[in-house]
Amino acid sequence: MGQLVVSKQAARSGRDLNDEVTQYLTFSVADERLAMSITAVKEIIETPQVTRVPMTPDYIRGVINLRGNVVPVVDLGARLGRGALTLTKRSCIVLVEVQVGEEDRHVLGMLVDEVKNILDIPPQDVKPPPEFGSEIRTDFIEAMGRVEDIFVIILSVDHVLSVQELASLRHFTDDHVADVEH
């Protein structure tokens, strides 16, 4: 697949034309079709060489060189509890801008199996998430979107890629290191 670059501008102007409909990027992770609001997406790239960062949990896939900047990549499969993804020809990294604290913005990469397409889902087809019955952590689900009678999970990017949570896990501290030598 070629490089599909979705600029924020395009996403916005799409919204302006039809205020009712929000656009969603859909992709698959471990054979499941997921969606996320397109407003946070900066661009989508083919997977380049990912450099592993030692002593980090498995959902931190590593770092990539994005035009001279070092950008961390989160393995969405591992993050959603589906196990680390295996790289294929279709694997993509979705670059997302997330809010850190009051003003800081941070660019993170999100490794997915395949990027599908961009969907318009009208608000009446966006339903609140189920309280249970999902294999994915409930706070990761922002809503359910109905697309041709199939419900697609719309991920809450702020929760899935919460920098605070990603950075504060125990794996980063000595506890993990302590069992290295055993």
Binding site: T51, P54, I60, G68, V70, P72, A167, F172, D174
Partner: protein
């Protein structure tokens, strides 16, 4: 004219002046007769009063005026500079700062002073022996009935002010200039002039300014000072200042005496002796330019001389110009270029250094490409580019290097204030102030240093009585020292105070649950516990320190700069804290190694040597690995073990290498698969996500476009030590 930016400039200027004043006061404390410092204090107060007056900040003017008057008396020997007086002057300085802060916080600039500030100011003035005047500051009465000519006198300044119509709209108040002018000398006479054809009431615009003033003024101030009064009115007022005859003679003398090598051109010359102000020069130069442009068409040869214009403008008398021309001509042949200093916006430098970083990466990429393509005859060119890039890099980084001394000298005040508050006698000795390091590092190290020095004053140095009993000099010493050591800067804070009590620290740490009672710790490890969060050995918290936050923050701040902090203390003898910091946060010399599937950079300054690893020389003890390096027992870490990234394709019997690294006083070995050589390393931060990741200081982009992580050797060693504690418990 933008008043807000002028106000901002004023506030910044005051901050600088007050800093100068503080430095001067500190010197005066040691040497009360130092004339340069006396002048500095006087000048600071004087200038603040002046600029404050222009803005109409009456409280600032009144306050600084009193201090200035007093300093004038001290300067002329009418008054003794005693210790209590210096003390009061320190407080006056702080009060001025408070006044300015108050103004800065107040958007309109004319809110009444808060009662607290007013009281504090009055109290200080009372201590200076100043009785506040019963009536408000005298304002010269403008008498419109007076005759409309100026008295002829040869010792008077003649000042003419023609305000432009928009002056009021731009927030100018002509009266405030007069009021302030009166603080520099006597307003002998003021004539208020109205335009000849005064506009009738129908066309009169109450928002326009129609006023002009003619002023006869007696003062000892020089022309620059007087012109300074009107500095903020430049754009809204035609200002002409004609010096008295007496001054005129002085200018001629000065011109004769001016050293020839300092003469550049007519305008600068006149400004330098104070005959004209820079603004008058700019105005005259503009006229010169305009007139020559007009004349160019008709009569190209006639370019008007600057001196003539100045005389015509009424800025100067012709006698001065003649002398200046003479001086200028004799000097012309001997002119030489001065060494000049250029002030550059730090942001621009930062951008330059970023670009140089990209350049370093790009040139590494070229080398990789050339090697891959196998173009042999390009090697020489690539070498040349590499050499130039590394030169550019060094020079660019050098631009941002500043001597640390200026930042260290601010601690003199910290120590002085803190020791007085606690009733201790403390000398602060600063050495190595000329040591240079990156400005961005300097800015970030000040806070931790301030904390450490306050600690030394508060916890370290004992009270004079206690010191006497312990057979020590009653005056304690804090020694602040800086020097370069293998690509790092070392800052030492050493005091000859009480030292740290290891037993008490341990007891406290056990009480707080930071260590277990049966844990075996070395003395060094116990001392390091003071860097743990929530531990303060001083029983009672003082206003200075002892709240138990701090030392851990200090350590974190230093580690955030990729630095380390070490501590050594002997009970009853003193404490020495050593901070080791990298010189720059931007680009370093690195050493590239391969371990498993990845590549890592070790800061070259920390690499001591590389040796081939042989399995027979290693031994394992308590889960920790050691190697016998020429009879020395050296602990080592195998990177592939620590990072779990062994490359399974690699043959197990392949040779490994040992990189011996040093950090502080320690040495350690890192076992790697391959040595890949030196590398100019542009440090890229890993960002918030990896904030808590230890052992990795950042990342860099290699010539191939791949990323290599930069190892933090000291943290790796700490991680490597963890198993030993685990083992010790079993």
């Amino acid at each position: 004219m933008n008043l807000d930016s002028a106000r901002q400039a004023f506030i910044e200027e005051v901050a600088e002046l007050l800093q100068t004043m503080e430095d001067a006061l500190l010197t005066l404390e040691q040497n009360p007769a130092d004339p340069e410092s006396l002048n500095d204090v006087f000048r600071a107060m004087h200038t603040i009063k002046g600029t404050g007056g222009v803005f109409g900040y009456t409280p600032v003017v009144e306050f600084t005026h009193t201090v200035e008057t007093l300093m004038d008396q001290v300067r002329s020997g009418q008054m003794m500079l005693t210790k209590p007086l210096i003390e009061t002057l320190f407080e006056c300085r702080d009060h001025t700062l408070a006044l300015i802060d108050f103004i800065a916080a107040d958007a309109t600039g004319d809110a009444p002073l808060s009662p607290d500030l007013q009281r504090a100011g009055d109290a200080l003035l009372a201590r200076l022996g100043h009785v506040p005047p019963p009536t408000p500051t005298a304002v010269p009465v403008l008498n419109f009935d007076a005759p409309t000519y100026l008295p002829e006198a040869n010792d008077l300044w003649m000042i003419s002010l023609e305000f432009k119509a928009d002056a009021f709209r731009h927030g100018m108040d002509p009266l405030s200039f007069l009021r302030y002018l009166s603080s520099l000398g006597d307003l002998v006479h003021v004539v208020t002039l109205l335009p000849l054809a005064f506009i009738d009431s129908e066309h009169f615009d109450p928002e326009s300014c129609y006023l002009s003033f003619g002023i006869a003024f007696r003062s000892d101030a020089d022309k620059r000072t007087i012109a300074g009064v009107f500095e903020f009115a430049d754009e809204d007022c035609e200002i002409r200042i004609l010096e008295p005859d007496s001054a005129h003679n002085r200018y001629v003398d000065l011109l004769e005496a001016t050293p020839h090598d300092q003469i550049n051109c007519m305008g600068d010359l006149l400004v330098s002796i104070g005959a004209i102000t820079p603004f008058e020069l700019v105005r005259a130069l503009k006229i010169q330019e305009d007139s020559s442009q007009v004349l160019d068409g008709t009569e190209p040869a006639a370019k008007r001389r600057l001196g003539d214009i100045l005389v015509e403008q009424g800025s100067i008398k012709s006698g001065v110009v003649e002398q200046a021309v003479k001086t200028q001509e004799t000097a012309r042949s001997k002119r030489q270029e001065d060494n000049r200093i250029i002030r550059v916006d730090a942001q621009r430098l930062g951008h330059l250094i970023d670009l140089v970083g990209e350049l370093v990466t790009s040139s590494a990429a070229i080398r990789v490409m050339v090697k891959r393509a196998g173009i042999d005859n390009m090697n020489e060119v690539v070498d040349g580019v590499d050499y130039l890039v590394s030169e550019i890099r060094d020079n660019a980084l050098q631009l941002r290097m500043v001597a640390i001394g200026e930042s260290l000298s601010r601690f003199r005040r910290v120590v002085r204030d803190a020791s007085q508050e606690l009733g201790k006698l403390i000398d602060l000795v600063i050495t190595g102030g000329e040591t240079e390091l990156d400005k961005t590092v300097v800015e970030k190290i000040i806070d931790p240093l301030t904390h450490l020095i306050r600690n030394a004053v508060d916890h370290g140095i004992e009270e004079p009585m206690v010191r006497q009993k312990a057979d020590k000099l009653t005056t304690g010493t804090i020694h602040l020292n800086a020097y370069h050591d293998s690509g790092h800067i070392v800052i030492e804070i050493e005091d000859d105070g009480a030292g740290l009590d290891a037993a008490r620290i341990r007891a406290k740490a056990e009480a707080k649950g930071l260590v277990k009672p049966d844990e075996v710790l070395t003395r060094e490890e116990i001392l390091r516990l003071i860097f743990a969060p929530g531990l303060s050995t001083k029983e009672q918290a003082t206003s200075l320190s002892g709240r138990g936050v701090g030392m851990d923050v200090v350590r974190r701040n230093i580690e955030a700069l990729r630095g380390t902090v070490e501590l050594d203390s002997t009970l009853g003898v003193g404490t020495k804290i050593t901070i080791i910091l990298p010189l720059t946060l931007a680009i370093i010399e690195g050493f590239l190694v391969g371990a498993g599937r990845d590549q890592y950079v070790i800061p070259l300054s920390q690499v001591a040597e590389c040796v081939e690893m042989t399995a027979t020389a290693t031994l394992k003890q308590h889960g920790e690995h050691y190697i016998n390096l020429r009879g020395e027992v050296l602990p080592f870490i195998r990177l592939t073990d620590l990072f779990h990234n062994a490359d399974w394709h690699r043959a197990t019997n392949q040779r490994e290498s040992l990189v011996v690294v040093r950090f502080g006083h320690h040495k350690m070995g890192l076992v790697v698969d391959t040595l890949l050589g030196e590398l100019q390393t542009v440090i890229k931060p890993l960002g918030k996500l990896f904030e808590r990741l230890r052992g990795v200081a950042g990342a860099t982009i290699l010539g191939t476009g791949d990323i290599a992580l930069i190892l933090d050797v000291a943290e790796l060693a700490a991680i490597g030590q963890v198993p030993r504690h685990v083992a010790a418990k079993h």
